[in-house]
C-alpha cells in the first residue's frame, strides 16, 4: 500500500542543514498496522509527514496505492490527501466548530453534497461513540474524546491509509488503550492500512503487526512485532524493550538471596520465553524432574497480539549436576537462558 524508496529529507535552516531522514526504504502492506518507533528527534514525524507530503522529500519516492505522490502537482496532491487520513498528538480540532462540524470539515473540503455529508458524519459519530456530543465544542471534551473526533474526521472521506503521529502520547494509559482498540477495530472492519508513530513500545505491542525502528535518521530494524519482542537485533530495539519489560532486577531481591551450603549451589538465572512454550508449566515439571528448588524472584508476562512472552528471574538451588541438567532441560524446551550470577 505504501512504498518508500531511498527517502532522504534535509531541513535547510539558517544555522545549518539538518538531515532528518537518510535513505529510508520501507513498505507497508495493505490492511496492516505498521508502527514506527524511535527516540525524540529520530525523524519519525518527518517520515510520516512525507507520506502525505506535508514535508517534501529531498530525495526518494513515496508510492501510495500505486502512485508516486512525490511527483504530483498541487491539485493532484489535494485529491490524494483526501484519501490519506491523519490524526495528531494534539488533536488539532477547530475550536470554532462543533464536534459535528469538525467531522463535517473534510467533507466540505472534498465538496461532498450536504445531505450525504451529514449522513456520513452521523455514521462516524456513532462509530466513535460520540453521538451525544455532536453539538458540543471540542473544548468541552476530554483528551480521549477529542482524539475520537480526530479519528472520525480522518475517516470522513473513506481513506485508504490512516497516519497517526503520536496520537496517544497526550493521553493516560487507560484512554490510550481505548483509542488503540478503536484503531484496531477500524483496521479490521474497514481493512484500513494504518501507519502509526510512537515512542512507546506498549503501543506497538498492543496494535501493530510490524514495526520499523528508527534511530538517528535511519531505519535500523524492520520486523514483525513478535520477532522484535523475542529477538531484538539492535541496541535501540533492545532499550525500547527493556523500558517496558523491567528486566532490571530490584536491588532488594538480590539481597534476599540464599547462600550456598556444602553440597548445593545456587544460580541466579533469567529465562525468557515466547509463544506457546509458556514458562510456568515447564518450570514446575523441571522442579519435579530434577530435584532442584526454583525460587522465582521476579517476572514479567505479557502478550503481543495474543502470544504470551515474558521473562522470569529465579534462583535454582540444588546439587551442581542437577542444576545444570535442569537448565539444559529448559533450554531444550525452547526457553532462552541467561545466567545472571554464578555462585
Amino acid at each position: 500500500m505504501i512504498e518508500i524508496n531511498n527517502l532522504t529529507k534535509v531541513y535547510h535552516t539558517s544555522a545549518q542543514d539538518i538531515t532528518a531522514l537518510e535513505n529510508v526504504t520501507l513498505s507497508v502492506n495493505k490492511g496492516e498496522i505498521f508502527g514506527i518507533i524511535g527516540l525524540s528527534g529520530a525523524g519519525k514525524s518527518t517520515l510520516i509527514r512525507c507520506i502525505n507530503m506535508l514535508e517534501k522529500p529531498t530525495q526518494g519516492s513515496i508510492i501510495v496505492d500505486g502512485q508516486d505522490i512525490s511527483l504530483f502537482n498541487r491539485h493532484e496532491l489535494r485529491i490524494a490527501r483526501q484519501k490519506i487520513g491523519m490524526i495528531f498528538q494534539h488533536f488539532n480540532l477547530l475550536s470554532s466548530r462543533t464536534v459535528f462540524d469538525n467531522i463535517l470539515f473534510p467533507l466540505e473540503i472534498a465538496r461532498v453534497p450536504s445531505s450525504e455529508a451529514r449522513r456520513k458524519v452521523n455514521e462516524l459519530l456513532e462509530l466513535v461513540g460520540l453521538t451525544d456530543k455532536a453539538t458540543g465544542y471540542p473544548s468541552q471534551l476530554s483528551g480521549g474524546q477529542k482524539q475520537r473526533v480526530g479519528i472520525a474526521r480522518a475517516l470522513a472521506n473513506d481513506p485508504k491509509v490512516l497516519l497517526s503521529d503520536e496520537a496517544t502520547s497526550a493521553l493516560d494509559p487507560e484512554t490510550t488503550r481505548s483509542i488503540l482498540s478503536l484503531l484496531k477495530d477500524i483496521n479490521r472492519n474497514l481493512n484500513l492500512t494504518i501507519v502509526l508513530i510512537t515512542h512507546d513500545m506498549n503501543v506497538i505491542k498492543q496494535v501493530c503487526d510490524r514495526v520499523a525502528v528508527i534511530a538517528e535518521s535511519r531505519i535500523v530494524e524492520i520486523n514483525d512485532v513478535l520477532s522484535i519482542f523475542s529477538n531484538p537485533q539492535t541496541p535501540t530495539s533492545q532499550s525500547f524493550l527493556n523500558a517496558i519489560m523491567n528486566k532490571d532486577i530490584p536491588e532488594g531481591i538480590l539481597q534476599r538471596r540464599n547462600t550456598d551450603t556444602a553440597d548445593t549451589i545456587s544460580k541466579l538465572i533469567r529465562v525468557s520465553f515466547i509463544g506457546a512454550s509458556a514458562g510456568e508449566p515447564l518450570i514446575s515439571s523441571m522442579v519435579q524432574k530434577y530435584e532442584v528448588k526454583a525460587n522465582i524472584l521476579y517476572g514479567n508476562i505479557d502478550h503481543v497480539k495474543d502470544t504470551p512472552f515474558g521473562n522470569l528471574t529465579m534462583e535454582l538451588i540444588g546439587q551442581p549436576v542437577l542444576v545444570n541438567e535442569a537448565m539444559d532441560f529448559l533450554f531444550e524446551n525452547g526457553l532462552e537462558i541467561e545466567v545472571l550470577q554464578n555462585v
Binding site: 490524494a80 490519506i84 487520513g85 495528531f88 488539532n92 470554532s96 473540503i109 465544542y137
Partner: protein, 238 residues
C-alpha cells in the same frame, strides 16, 4: 448619498439662522453623531481593505500556504511606509485624493478618506497578529485533508481568529475616535471641530469638557462592546 449629506451642512445652517447658545445642545448631539458616523464608516472601510491585506501578508509569509517572498516584502514595506506617516501629515498629503473620491476636502465625509487610509495598514498589522496566533497544527490538519488555500482562509484562519479580530476592531475604532478628533481640528467635523471652534477659538471651556467627556464615553463604550462580543463568542466555544 455622500453628496446629499455634504450639500446640507447642518452646522452652518444652525449658526447662520439661529441664535448661538440655544442650539448648543443640538450642536453637541450633531457633532457626536458625526464622530460616530466617521468612526463607524472608516472602521468599516479600513477592514474592507485591511482584512484581505492581512490575509495576504500572513499567507505569503515564508513556509505559509501561499508563500511568496517578493509579494510579502513589497506589501510589508508599503504597510510600514504608510504607518510611519503621521496622521496629520497624511491628512494634508492626500487632499487631492480625497477631492477625487468625495468631491471636497472638508467636512465629515471628506474625513473618512484619510481616516480609512490611515487605519488600513494599522488594521492589516492587527489582523495579521490575530491570524498568526492560530496554532499551525490546525492549518496542517486542513492541509492533510486536502484543503486549498481559499478553504484554509475561509474555514480555518478567519473563523478561528474571529474573537481576536473583534478585539482588534474595537482597538481600531478607538484609535479612529482619536484620529477623527484630530481631523476635526482641520475642518473634518464632529467632536473635534466642536472642541476646537468653541473650546479653543471661543474659550468655551464647558463645551470643550463636554466634548472630552463624550469622547471618553465613546471610547469606553466601544471597548466594552468589543470585549462583550468577543467573550460571547469565546464562551460559546468553551
Amino acid at each position: 448619498m455622500f453628496e446629499l449629506i455634504t450639500a446640507f451642512d447642518l452646522n452652518s445652517f444652525f449658526s447662520s439662522h439661529l441664535g448661538e447658545n440655544a442650539w448648543i445642545p443640538m450642536k453637541v448631539l450633531l457633532s457626536t453623531w458625526e464622530s460616530i458616523y466617521m468612526v463607524f464608516i472608516s472602521t468599516f472601510f479600513s477592514y474592507v481593505f485591511g482584512l484581505p491585506l492581512a490575509i495576504i501578508l500572513v499567507t505569503t509569509d515564508k513556509g505559509h500556504i501561499m508563500e511568496n517572498n517578493p509579494a510579502n516584502k513589497i506589501l510589508g514595506s508599503i504597510v510600514n511606509a504608510v504607518r510611519s506617516i503621521p496622521f496629520i501629515i497624511l491628512l494634508i498629503l492626500i487632499i487631492p485624493l480625497t477631492r477625487l473620491i468625495v468631491g471636497t476636502s472638508v467636512g465629515t465625509v471628506a474625513s473618512i478618506v484619510p481616516l480609512t487610509l490611515a487605519a488600513i495598514p494599522f488594521v492589516a498589522r492587527l489582523v495579521e497578529t490575530s491570524l498568526k496566533e492560530i496554532d499551525w497544527g490546525l492549518i496542517e490538519a486542513a492541509l492533510s485533508m486536502g484543503a486549498n488555500a481559499r478553504q484554509i482562509i475561509s474555514k480555518v484562519l478567519i473563523p478561528e481568529a474571529v474573537p481576536s479580530i473583534i478585539l482588534g476592531v474595537a482597538i481600531t475604532a478607538i484609535n479612529l475616535v482619536g484620529y477623527s478628533a484630530m481631523a476635526g481640528v482641520v475642518g473634518g467635523g464632529g467632536l473635534g471641530t466642536l472642541a476646537y471652534t468653541y473650546g479653543f477659538q471661543r474659550y468655551r471651556m464647558d463645551i470643550l469638557l463636554i466634548a472630552v467627556f463624550i469622547l471618553i464615553v465613546l471610547v469606553q463604550g466601544i471597548q466594552l462592546a468589543g470585549d462583550k462580543i468577543s467573550n460571547k463568542i469565546l464562551d460559546k466555544r468553551r
